[in-house]
């Protein structure tokens, strides 16, 4: 008997859900379509979404975002604008489906601007939803060129991957390298990077002797590293030691395991150039694998700006969280500012408006990561880089700045140490 009852109840419940839901949807459509008659001048609390896409690197820029929100709110407060921005933080822990869910939950909670997602894979996954719901994404870390489409709702405060690879090639050339042995992670970042690298290398006349992919989910890179050494030796025997450089392309999280593996292979300790993922100044590299990094002369790039914001962020991050601000932290910090300023300029918290305002705001904003001008596609045009290298400074491995890359002239000015 209870069998039947539960059956009935369930049936009714489902039907109710169905009817209500569909009805709700039509209501939703209508209300979304007609411009909502909200306050003429913007005021009160405004939610800005933050969508991390990986648990492992969350620490890398959530801290910067916290600082950014404090600064923004402080600035608005001082200038007497009655707006307070509250971050709604979500984390999709490297799962694209989760990313879509979390994005929808953010939108459902009324976010029209969302900082993130972090990685290109996730950005590609959630972009269609953002376009559909007309919500602006400002990614601080996803550099895939596939994302630079004019007229979509995706913008970013870092330049596409080509710009980064250009610097890596420039470093190599600056060190007199014209042969590269490359290993890249088999994910969006790695694959797009290697494509860009090959293109640029061809232009600059740098030979890529060998490039092979590694599984980013692997826990031990010894085998990969032994292959790398093999190929490196071959290259050296062909072209001579001073001509051959090694480059590792991957997410910041892969630095530590890679350097762990490198420490096991003395052949890699003395390479003409050893360029790694873009984690310049990252603390965990020093903490976990400092000696390996120093031995192998691990070189990496990060954003560089002659702006007070940059310095203050750096110092405050250091004293509050005890770690260096991660490369993409600067970009995330700027993303928050650009979002806030554009909302102020648009005087309306709606995606359609904001996407038009953001590029123009970015052109007048000098941020922690430098001059953040965006083009029509919403990509940051250029970025100045700081080239750092791990060295032994009285026997403690630490990051040393060895040069600066000027995006306007596309040249490196080496610092003599």
């Amino acid at each position: 008997m209870s069998h039947l009852v539960s059956k009935k109840i369930l049936a009714i419940f489902i039907i109710v859900l169905l009817v209500v839901g569909i009805g709700a949807y039509f209501v939703g459509q209508i209300t979304v379509v007609k411009p909502s008659p909200v306050k003429p001048a913007l005021s009160g609390e405004i939610p800005i979404g933050v969508l991390h896409s990986s648990a492992s690197e969350e620490g890398y820029f959530q801290s910067a975002i916290n600082i950014a929100f404090e600064d923004v709110n402080k600035w608005f407060n001082e200038s007497g604008i009655p707006i307070k921005f509250v971050p709604l933080i979500e984390n999709a822990e490297e799962s694209t489906t989760k990313a879509c869910e979390k994005l929808e939950s953010l939108i459902a909670r009324g976010c029209q601007v969302i900082i993130g997602p972090q990685w290109s894979t996730t950005s590609l996954a959630v972009k269609p939803i953002a376009d559909e719901r007309k919500v602006v994404l400002i990614s601080p870390a996803s550099g895939s060129p596939a994302l630079s489409i004019a007229g979509d709702y995706f913008t970013r405060t870092i330049p596409p991957i080509d710009a980064w690879q250009l610097v890596d090639v420039a470093i190599a050339m600056g060190r007199g390298i014209n042969v590269l042995v490359v290993v890249y992670s088999k994910d969006t970042f790695g694959e797009t990077s290697i494509a860009a690298l090959e293109k640029i290398a061809k232009e600059k006349g740098v030979v890529i002797y060998e490039s092979f992919a590694y599984d980013p989910t692997a826990k031990d890179f010894t085998v990969e590293c032994s292959k790398l050494v093999e190929k490196y030796k071959e290259a050296v025997s062909k072209f001579g030691w001073e001509k051959v450089g090694v480059e590792i392309i991957g997410a910041g999280g892969h630095c530590v395991p890679w350097l762990t593996a490198v420490e096991k292979f003395p052949e890699l300790w003395k390479t003409a150039s050893f360029v790694g993922p873009h984690v310049a100044g990252a603390t965990d590299v020093i903490k976990y694998t400092g000696s390996a990094a120093a031995k192998s002369g691990f070189t990496s790039i990060g954003p560089y700006a002659r702006s007070p914001l940059s310095l203050s962020l750096k110092t405050r991050h250091k004293e509050r969280y005890g770690t260096e601000c991660y490369t993409y932290g600067y970009a995330a910090y700027d993303a928050v500012w650009i979002a806030a300023l554009s909302i102020l300029a648009a005087q309306e918290y709606k995606g359609e408006k904001l996407i038009k305002v953001i590029p123009s705001i970015s052109r007048v904003y000098m941020g922690a990561s430098g001059y953040c001008a965006m083009n029509e596609a919403g990509d940051r045009i250029a970025m100045d880089f700081e080239i750092k290298m791990v060295k032994f400074i009285n026997d403690t491995p630490s990051w040393v700045t060895i040069g600066y890359f000027d995006s306007s002239t596309q040249t490196i000015t080496w610092v003599s140490t």
Binding site: A213, D220, S226
Partner: protein, 299 residues
Amino acid sequence: MIDPLIISAIANSLIMGLVALGFTLQYVTLRVPNLAHTTICFSSAYITLTFWLLGYNPYFGVFIGFLESSILTYLLYNFLNMLKARGLDDVSLMISTIGISMIIYGFANIYLDYLAYVFKTYTRTFTLANADFKLLGIPGVIYISLILFVFFLLFFNWLLSTKFGIQLRAIVEKPSLAEVHGVDVKRVVGIAWFIIGGIGGIAGSLWPLWFQCDPWLGPLMLTSIFAACALGGIKSILGSLFGGIFIGVSQVILLSVLSDLVGTWIISFKTLIPLIIASLVLLFLPEGIMGKIQKYRGG
């Protein structure tokens, strides 16, 4: 200076062997594959990390790791018994172990967050390879794991000859009969699980001394460990050790050989190796190599 590949292979295989041993013993005593085993074992790696962060030698972590893992395993055993008493079938028990492993995974992440907050560093993915001491250019983890491995091998030989061991074997053969003959099955198997969990914990706490470690490691290792056990013959304890060693070696050596043969692209498929071995063994050699040998001996 030995080729790091060899060292990796040795460390990997020894650790795998110790973990696989536990999986098999748990299976033969309770007839339930404990899918939470790897998660529990590798959870003791965070203890090693904690000790290192506190500034001690990471090897201190080994002892606490033993306790932590063995206690968790013992609790799990009692929980499973509680469920069994409610007349659950093996499959439901297996699923419940999945639930346990999820809980441990969640808490491990929270713990790492806490460590990161306290020590102001990144703890999500970590490796302590250069915190390890070196002897004749060979990292200490090799010596330690070798010593432990041999020790446990002898220990088990001795254990199985004691009264306890005989009781244990009786239980493995026929639990109901053993119970009739006055063997306190719960107690004996409980102790066995305690010890075996501890051994797995030691293996897990040695892992970050040579490899990279993150919270998803345990669930990830499950298939490799199962491949090892299936290969060695899920019923045979010795077999699981050898299966573990085989898988551990194959993950390193086989991969590098393959990459020489078919090209470097194969490297990004390394995770497939244990999966494929496991599927093939399950299909075409369900009783495992040891089982085959015994059958062959049996005539």
